[in-house]
Structure formats: structure tokens, C-alpha cells
């Protein structure tokens, strides 16, 4: 008798974004035709830039003629794209070789897949509030989760646990660090990130560094890659995405860096991932990889920079409204998320309901990112300018009247 993966029974009953979509559906059923201002899920609204569109069209043309047709792609990524990504790192002073770069279908896919490299007896440390899939993907594998809460007191940027004081329980095998952070918008500085790298090296942990939002960092003193930190190549895997960098949320492309210097128990993780990819995938679509490569051209860089600046302007519009309303928040600078304290000590879902019902504004309840997110709320800055400006106006009007 086949036994299913019973760990699925340990998953919490529902998923944050699913709950939100159900609430929206109910609202729209009760208010047909209502126009919602969507600052909830971090989905982009600007179209793909010209350089990417041109490359995608060229690739579709390639697939239309036998002479230029591309069949199976190399499992770890097309050489032209792996090289473009490695060169992009090198241009920022981070020395990564082409065969340390793996092309993926996106960070969310890779965050699930990569766990196959690790024993199921490992523990996973998740700094909360956190992207819910970090926890769920590990629960599916039966791993014990070490929840490390963060909060205002440390600016949502905790230091590593003190292994000597906190005991063995504090020393996790897999450590998730997302910087710039989703949902809090907090960004690790070099000094603090170095402490985590040292902690991981000392304890033999592996850091999964989620750099999906690195393109939003404007403060040059902040690290955009964990590999800017000395020692990271022996303890970290970096997972990146073009979703927010270049508007690929629906086009799907990401990349992962696994240094060749990263080994544990005599097993080299880069070599293991090559073996995983050659067994479990036939690579990412040629068309999409060609589109992705255009992001790393000078023309592409310039165009995506313009898009990123558009979202940064959204952030300024929203934070100005919050400033005026006296709302306390993190993020919105160096990060595409604004993480605000719900006014009047309200809980996250009450504030969600208030904004939806009174302002037709959709945000994301902070409690969905872990219990220490209770009382907090996330705005995405990826909405359209119109929605963002209108939401800012309504927030300025509504918040002073909010009584939970």
C-alpha cells in the first residue's frame, strides 16, 4: 500500500494568498464591479521592457525555422545566459564562475527544488516574519523549523543565535535569509550579514540567501549579494529572480549561485545540483532564456532601471501618505515592500478588512508571515501609478478615522 507523504498533513490549513483571494472574491461578489486598488501580492504591473520583448520575439522566430530551431536546452542553463549572469556578478566585483550559475524557472520554484540537496533530518531556521513557502516547503519534507522572531527592537534584522548560550537547538542546518526582506523591507548590512556567514561556517550550516529584491537596493553600502561577504562561498547558496528585477513574474526566470567551494560531509553541493538538474529537468525554455539574457545587456539594464525607478516612486508616494498619517513603517527604501504597524494597535486581519471594505485597498496582513507579524501590514509598491496615488489619497483620509 502506497503511503503518501504524510508531512502534508502537518501543513497549516490554508495559504496566506489563498485566504486573501477568497476575501477578495467574497467582497467582489457583494460589490459587483468594485474597482480594487491592489497593493497586496508583490506582482508587477509594468510590461516587459523593449530589449526583452525584442529578444523574446527573436527567439520565437528562431523556433519557427529548422535552421535556427532549438530543442533540448542544457539542464543547468543555456551557456549564453549563465555567462551573462556570471559577468553581471563580476561587473559588481563578485567573482562567480559560469558553472556556479544555474538557470531556474524562478525563485519560488528553486526554493522548493533546492531542498532536495539536504537530508530530511536537518533543521531549518526561518527568520520571521517570512515568506510562507520557506516554512511550508520544509514542513513537506518533515524538517523541524526553528522560528527566529524579529521585531522593531532589532529593525527586523536579528543577529545569529548565541550557540553557546541558546544551546544546540539554536544551531540550524539550513538558514533562510531574505534581504531585502519580504515582507519587512529590512536589508542586512555587511557587518551583520558577516556575523551570519561566520555563524554558518562555524556550525556547518548552509544559508539559503533569497536575493529576489536585490535590484531595489540603492544604498551602495548595503550588500546586493551574499557573495560580497568574505566566507560566504563556503556556506551559502544565493537564489535570485528576474520577477521583480525585470517584471518576469508571469514570464518566469531566475538563477541560483552554488559556489564550487560549498561542500558538507564530503559531498559537493554544486556537483550534487548538476546531478539533480540533469536527472530532474530538461532545462528552461529557450525562448524565455533568450528574453532573460537581454536583461543583462546595457540596453536592458537601462530599461529595467527605469522600471525599478517607477516602483521606487510608488514607494515614495505611499510612504509620504503614511508619514502624514503618522503611521510607523519599515522598508519602502532599498526594498519594494512597505511594512507598517497597524494603526491603533489593530490586528493584521482587522486592518485588512478595514482597508478592503472602506478603501477598496488590498494589502497583505503581516500575521500571514508568522506570528510575530501580527499587528503589522505589508504594502507592495508594484501597483500601477494610478492605483498607488489613489490608495495614498484614501489612506490619508481613512487612517485618521480608523477605530479597530
Amino acid at each position: 500500500m502506497l503511503k503518501p507523504n504524510m508531512n502534508y498533513a502537518d501543513l497549516k490549513d490554508s495559504y496566506l494568498f489563498y485566504n486573501i483571494s477568497q476575501k477578495i472574491a467574497s467582497y467582489l461578489e457583494a460589490h459587483p464591479g468594485a474597482r480594487l486598488l491592489r497593493l497586496g501580492i508583490g506582482d508587477v504591473t509594468l510590461p516587459l521592457c523593449e530589449a526583452v520583448i525584442g529578444a523574446l520575439k527573436g527567439a520565437v522566430d528562431d523556433q519557427a525555422a529548422a535552421e535556427t530551431f532549438h530543442g533540448y536546452m542544457p539542464e543547468c542553463g543555456a551557456p549564453f545566459l549563465r555567462e551573462a549572469i556570471a559577468e553581471h556578478y563580476r561587473s559588481r566585483g563578485v567573482n562567480i564562475s559560469t558553472d556556479e550559475v544555474f538557470v531556474s524557472s524562478g525563485a519560488s520554484d528553486e526554493l522548493g527544488d533546492i531542498l532536495d540537496l539536504f537530508d530530511r533530518g536537518n533543521t531549518a531556521l526561518v527568520i520571521e516574519p517570512a515568506y510562507p513557502a520557506y516554512v511550508d516547503a520544509n514542513v513537506m519534507a518533515g524538517r523541524k523549523i526553528i522560528h527566529v522572531p524579529s521585531g522593531e527592537e532589532n529593525g527586523f534584522l536579528p543577529a545569529p543565535p548565541d550557540a553557546s548560550a541558546d544551546g544546540e537547538d539554536a544551531v540550524a542546518d539550513i538558514i533562510y535569509i531574505c534581504s531585502p526582506n519580504n515582507p519587512t523591507g529590512a536589508v542586512f548590512g555587511r557587518e551583520l550579514l558577516k556575523k551570519w556567514v561566520d555563524f554558518a561556517n562555524e556550525n556547518g550550516s548552509v544559508i539559503i540567501f533569497d536575493a529576489a529584491y536585490e535590484a531595489f537596493i540603492e544604498d551602495a553600502s548595503l550588500p546586493r549579494s551574499i557573495f560580497e561577504i568574505e566566507g560566504a562561498k563556503t556556506c551559502a547558496i544565493e537564489i535570485c529572480s528576474l520577477s521583480k528585477t525585470a517584471g518576469f513574474t508571469g514570464t518566469r526566470l531566475g538563477y541560483t549561485v552554488i559556489p564550487k567551494a560549498l561542500s558538507r560531509c564530503g559531498m559537493n553541493l554544486n556537483a550534487m545540483w548538476v546531478r539533480n538538474r540533469t536527472t530532474k529537468t530538461n532545462g528552461v525554455s529557450y525562448i524565455i532564456q533568450k528574453g532573460g539574457a537581454a536583461v543583462f545587456t546595457p540596453e536592458g539594464r537601462e530599461q529595467i532601471e527605469a522600471n525599478i525607478n517607477y516602483y521606487k516612486q510608488n514607494a515614495r508616494i505611499l510612504t509620504e501618505a503614511l508619514d502624514k498619517a503618522g503611521v510607523h513603517y519599515f522598508g519602502g527604501r532599498n526594498a519594494p515592500y512597505i511594512w507598517l504597524r497597524c494603526p491603533c494597535g489593530a490586528d493584521s486581519w482587522s486592518f485588512f478588512d478595514f482597508l478592503l471594505n472602506e478603501g477598496q485597498i488590498v494589502g497583505t496582513p503581516g500575521s500571514g508571515f508568522g506570528s510575530c507579524g501580527e499587528g503589522w501590514f505589508r504594502f507592495s509598491t508594484f501597483g500601477s501609478r494610478n492605483d498607488t496615488e489613489e490608495a495614498a489619497k484614501r489612506l490619508a483620509r481613512l487612517i485618521p478615522n480608523f477605530k479597530p
Copy 2:
């Protein structure tokens, strides 16, 4: 200290297609400029059909304007594509509902991912010769493999083990059936497939039915889907691909059917897969899904049928040459692979070396698909017409002179 997934150490040292590529590389180094006739890996050579190209272009255009731009796609697949696939099943008399269809990045990706649904203590039955990833993906999870050899005596189509006679060891939890088969080209008939379905239902096993080559079946009496067999909905998952059906090897798209009636130990596998997808992926590229949907239009069906007929003509050209040379083979009808007995009792790699060195023909050694494939050899019929015709000529000339 992080412990890697030590099951990777149990993987056999190298991968069939990697070995072939190394042999080819060595040959080309020794013979620069040599033109190889590639009948090895099952990669298509015809470009995408017009209907698909048109849909891909339209989708790229959609991504170029804010009004038509698509961000995150539903994790289980775009409704338009899920519905087109379900309708395609229904048009063939198989009643599948839209929410039993899941869009994937391709069968090879899905064959790896789907195993997350099962406990690692389960056993996996693999009918050999077999696609190597069935075994490797389960070795990576630490599962015990039950190798069921097949051979000429049963036309490479074995009956289920006799649980009462063969003991508990014969009753596997996960059963792989690939029909039309890669590499042997053998296709299960309804009666024999029904025996496997009954066996799975009686023993609580789950069949992973790999239907990647179903489009090549021309004999109407042969089942193209396991769901044509009564009882399959309570014991089978069907994994399909557009790679061979519509030339998507480098474009990447597939689909999976998990019936809502499929449960084990109180866990519903369809619901588990929804949860898996919503946690571990953000869906397949909008552009590629639009291209895939065009395959299911009347125009698309007609155009891919023409391409499939082109490959079937390749099969006729090759099998005629083998007939003339007195070589015994399976497949080549209802299947895109030809599985031949190496002449003069040669072993698979000797015949590979002979064809490469003497005929510049690349095939696939049967021993790479399991030990019972030793002495056999696979040709793909997905090559270009020129290569196929030239290979047929050379085979007719070379085989009579082959002395291992």
C-alpha cells in the same frame, strides 16, 4: 552541521546521455568537422508549427503593453490551457475535469517533482529497460527500486508480478509504466494495461503513467491514456508532454492528470498536488502556456499531425533498412523509437562505437536503460529527413560487414 542528502552517493556514477556526449566530444576532437547523423537522444528537429508560433508571438505582444500584461500565473496552470487539455481528453472519450489537469514545465520536470507526494519508505517498480531518470529520481529519495526486467519473450510488455507467488517484495508502492515505451517502442494493449490497473488497485499502489509518446499511436485499439482503462482513476497519475507531440523539447510544456478519486491513507493526491504547486511554484510562463494552448486548436492539431507524420515516415525509412539488413527490432510503429537487437550478438556500447566510428551515426546503447537492455540499441526517429535517409543508407551498407 548540515547533512546533505546522502542518497546522492548511491547514484551510479554517470548518466547515459552524458556518457554519449563525452564520446561524441572525443570523436569530434579526433575528427574535426565530421558531420554526425544524430539518431541518439529523442530530440525533435522540426520547428514549432505555425499555430504555435502565432500564439507565442501574440503572447509576447501581450507582455509588451500594460493593458495586456500578465503577471503571476495560477500555480496549477492557466485556466485556458487546463480547459483545452481537459476538452482534448473528453474529445477522445476520457472524462477528465479541468481541476484534474495540472500544467507543468515538461514531463521530465514533473517526473521529478511528483515524487514529493510519496513517502520515502515506498518502493518503486521500474519495468526495464527504462528511462534512467525513473530510477535516479527515486534513488535520490532513498527509495528501494524493484527492477522488473522485460525482454523479447514478452515483447517488452511484462504482466504484473504475481503477488501471491512472488511474495511481498513484488508489490511495489509506485509503479512506472511508459507506453508507448521509451526505449523499446512497445505499447501496452488494453487487456494487459487493465491487469496493471487491477494490480495497483488491489495492492494500493499508484501507477505513474508516462504518456509522453501517446501522439504516435496510430492503432486505434491501443490506449493513448491510462484513463481509457476502467479503474485507473483510483490508482493512476498520467504525465504528458508536448515535447514530442508538438516539438516543445526546447520550449518546455507538459501536463499531468491527477484524478480527484485518487487517495491513499486518507490523503487525496489531487489536493496534495494543489498544495504542492501553490507552495513550490509560481506557475509556468504565460507565453509558453499560450503557445501550448494553440496545440489544442483545430489548426494546431492539424499542423502537429503533419509533423508527427514526418517522424513516422522517418521510422519507415529506418525500419526498411533494418528489415533489409535482417536486423530484429521492436517499435517504429505507434512509437517514435526503434529498439533493435545489436547484430551478431554484440554488446550495446560496441555497436555504439561501431556506428559512430564507421558510420558517424549516433544512437543510444540499450544497456543505458537497465541491464536487460544489454545487446539492444535505440534509434530515435526525430532526426531530420536528410540525416535519417543517409543513416538508413549507411546502415544497409555497414551492418552486413559488422564483426564485433
